[in-house]
């Protein structure tokens, strides 16, 4: 069945560093992935998405890479800022629905 999981529960970086958050998935038929950011006391917020016909997609300071061979995706945050401190989830829509299957999440801690 569909499942999405995270490699690291916590990532600590210095302000200005680049951050890389990883995610593995198990369903080789998965064709769409979304990264969410969840700040303390708030609901998840959409960051960036990627479809399986792409290897890379860039947004503002964020890049998502998709490696379908090893069923792995990553979220790269450039010049990490204290405001980036949050829990980051990769998620996959349930086939044919707008509902989502989430992984456990990675907490990103940015120190000044």
């Amino acid at each position: 069945g569909e499942s999405v999981g995270l490699h690291l529960p916590t990532l600590s970086v210095q302000e200005g560093d680049n951050s890389i958050i990883n995610c593995a998935y198990s369903n080789s038929a998965s064709d769409y992935f979304i990264w969410y950011k969840q700040e303390s006391g708030k609901g998840p917020q959409f960051i960036i998405d990627i479809r399986s016909n792409m290897d890379k997609r860039q947004g503002q300071r964020v890049t998502v890479l998709l490696n379908k061979t090893v069923k792995h995706l990553s979220l790269q945050i450039a010049a990490t800022q204290p405001g980036d401190s949050a829990v980051y989830f990769c998620a996959e829509p349930r086939k044919g629905y707008s509902t989502l299957t989430f992984g456990k999440g990675t907490m990103l801690l940015v120190s000044p």
Partner: protein
């Protein structure tokens, strides 16, 4: 424009009690989904409602139920509360039933004691 709003923001209940959580979707959105997020975990899908009908259900017991009203707002009901029901309950709205972006509310923090 108002985003997804949920009420109450925090709630404390006793084991065995019943709880009702409420969600108002973004104006124009017809789909509402509910998720349970236990501390330290990702959100887990509970229900999806679209056009006032249940369109999907996650792996949750029958103590969990929901409904959607003509104005597309929604309620999540949980009966016979257990300590393990303590979690953040998230509501997400989207325009359509399928393949549309979901927008989340801030959640209701339920504590069962």
């Amino acid at each position: 424009d108002a985003g997804v709003t949920q009420s109450p923001t925090h709630l404390i209940k006793t084991r065995g009690q019943h709880v009702t959580l409420r969600c108002s979707p973004i104006s124009g959105h017809k789909s509402v989904s509910w998720y349970q997020q236990v501390l330290g975990q990702g959100p887990q899908f509970i229900f999806q409602y679209y056009e006032k009908e249940e369109r999907g259900r996650g792996n949750f017991p029958d103590r969990f139920s929901a409904r959607q009203f003509p104005n597309y707002s929604s309620e999540l009901n949980v009966n016979a509360l257990l300590l393990g029901d303590s979690a953040l309950y998230l509501c997400a709205s989207s325009f359509g039933q399928v393949n549309t972006e979901a927008f989340f509310g801030q959640g209701t923090r339920l504590t069962v004691v």
